[in-house]
Symmetry: C2
Subunit: 399 residues, 2 copies
């Protein structure tokens, strides 16, 4: 008997009937003797609907108000799920971020959780209640409503598991973590387990299964996360530390692609490192995530620099860059797919990169930018080459 | 230069375009030198949509969770309106009940406002912000989200006007208070002013323009309320104290009808006053509003009692009554229209009731129950007679 923190994604609560089914599942789990704390996302497309309301008001809606608006989606699903449990004769209570003081800091729309006051939750569990909490939202020290960014409910769940010393289960519309997105590669294999680091690389690279901050948090506190289908007996995937895993010889565990970025190319800018670091600092201070950065060696003191930026931050980013470079020298490449392979095993296996680039070259796939980490190789390629690249790499590395 | 509290109803903010228009209106008002605090209802049919979601879960949804659910509608419109003002380059901030501690007590779904902490509002006004607050909602001492009942945003607005020592303006989809609902009687006259008492009787009798608790509150603190169309130059109606009014000789100011109740008839119950007072106390303790009560003189110690109950509380009410009376002796009459005429002038004019009942009798309209107050006469009639009754009474009393 312990505390189980379960998170249900938007697709698991997208209709009243699905909510009723989750309520039944929760009651079964409760009857097995578990104390249950449940984090819910907004129903189905609610968050998108709220955003499009805001976009009807402004192309660039005020961020404090946008957070206040978006937080309502989770409040709704939360109250409905609690209602559904009570309707079945079991005790339940819903809490918003305000009610359990999910304290956040940082910028609206991408706040970090500083702390959660779990007193009320513990009291409610003691009374036998199933506790339902609103994911994705928090409150900053000014009392403003904040949100944690897309997929933030995963992080809410892990944070609650940390504070409650419980286990964490993420229920979603996929039945686990695959080596490659099965929609993109039909022979993709489901993994029984994956290391935090690998999952982190995969999820920050566009494998949309999990919010990457949730993995970081789980890794920090060594909380294993189960990821699986809601209302199903199909076995999912456990995300845990490598020391707990049966390390296989396979160097590459997963593959991920993302079309969510554009590449910014700056031509012939002053190679003075101060200017570049200034530029990147300014961009970072606006909390824009620059991802891949590559720079060529200076010629006559001038360098060419390329980096990728999320599409939806292109505008804000460009307004910064214009202060650092002549507009003539800025070009944007919208035709990029970020293509990454990930594996703890890469640390001990050489030649993975060269093997992949040989494959690309044999198949006439042009590689534009390259960045690597100890357990990851990422490059950008043209979007038309994406599917071919997935097929040949997945096959070659037995994914 | 003073503080103006304006309330905009759901139909005034039912679309993004309407919200943008309200934003412009507010900025104009602000530029005239007013400090503006705005209370908004949920957009259009949002509250009904939320209720139907809840009804999909349960015929009788848990009331704490229902309040939590329903409160989200106002949070949304609040954030959107503030965004719209900021989009036009003016400063604005939205506050939920939590953020300004709209403290309530009483039962979920019909809470009363105990207090509001206006510190944050005053600070924001000082900084030149237009303050947008969520109507209809509050927080009780347990930290639960509560709502004030249908139309509760009016009460939120008056309460804020009281606490901020401001004036109160209610903007809605009608251009003022009419002697008779103009949809029911096309010759109805709009009133320039109406006394609190009269308005109170009218609104508690089914004239849906205003939340009756808001009138009580305004009367208690002698805050005049302006009621009119949003975004319009058409002059509306001021609700204020009779001592400020030019008292006319006309005994009847208004007429209201309501089909929202059913009549409960209890036959041959024990005439012991203790039993009846017990019954009514029990019903009242569940916060069910019994409205009209009439009782016939006892025969052999037994009396017949009739009273009206809101349709949506019929079920709860019946479960109580069954403990007090044999089921055989309980009958329900669903075919009733409450028909009321109201006027401060009635205090000084005799024969109003007899004049009305003579009219009914001349026109073959059967009167079922009758109750009266100093300034009001209410009876129930069959619903099929409603329109005829409105026409003949409105004409006779020059409404």
């Amino acid at each position: 008997m312990g505390i189980v923190v379960q998170k249900y994604g938007g697709s698991s609560v997208s209709t009243i009937n699905k909510i009723k089914n989750i309520a039944k599942t929760l009651i079964n789990k409760k009857e097995e003797g578990n104390d249950l704390v449940v984090v819910v996302s907004a129903m189905g497309d609610t968050t998108d609907d709220l955003i499009s309301l805001a976009k009807g008001i402004s192309k660039n809606p005020d961020k404090r108000e946008l957070d206040a608006l978006m937080s309502t989606g989770e409040m709704m699903s939360c109250a409905l799920l609690s209602m559904a449990i009570r309707e079945l004769g079991y005790d339940s209570i819903s809490y918003t971020a305000y009610q359990i003081d999910i304290r956040t800091s940082g910028q609206y729309g991408k706040c970090l959780i500083d702390d959660i006051d779990v007193t009320k939750i513990k009291e409610s569990l003691k009374k036998g209640k199933i506790v339902i909490t609103a994911g994705f939202q928090g409150v900053n020290k000014n009392g403003d409503i904040t949100t944690l960014g897309r997929g933030g409910s995963d992080t809410s769940a892990v944070a609650l598991a940390v504070k409650l010393n419980g286990v964490c289960e993420i229920y979603t519309d996929v039945d686990g973590i695959y080596s490659v997105d099965p929609r993109k590669y039909k022979y993709a294999k489901k993994l029984d387990a994956i290391d935090y680091e690998e999952m982190l690389e995969l999820s920050s690279l566009g494998a949309q299964v999990m919010h990457s901050r949730s993995i970081e948090l789980a890794q920090k506190y060594q909380i294993p996360i189960y990821v699986g289908l809601s209302n199903s007996n199909i076995k999912g995937t456990i995300i845990k530390g490598v020391n707990k895993m049966n390390l296989e010889s396979k160097p590459v565990t997963g593959l991920a692609t993302s079309d969510d970025d554009i590449a910014v190319n700056l031509k012939e800018i002053d190679g003075n490192i101060n200017i570049l670091s200034n530029l990147f600092e300014t961009i970072a201070s606006r909390k824009i995530n620059i991802d891949m950065i590559s720079q060529t060696s200076p010629i006559n003191g001038k360098v060419n620099v390329s980096f990728t930026v999320p599409k939806d931050e292109q505008e804000e980013c460009m307004s910064i860059i214009k202060n650092f470079s002549n507009e003539r020298n800025i070009s944007i490449d919208e035709d990029i797919t970020k293509f990454s392979i990930v594996g703890i095993g890469m640390k001990n296996t050489s030649g993975v990169a060269s093997k992949m680039f040989k494959l690309f070259s044999d198949n006439n796939i042009n590689v534009k930018m390259i960045t690597t980490s100890e357990i990851r190789i990422t490059c950008t390629i043209s979007q038309k080459d994406k599917n071919k690249a997935i097929q040949i790499v997945a096959e070659k590395f037995y994914l």
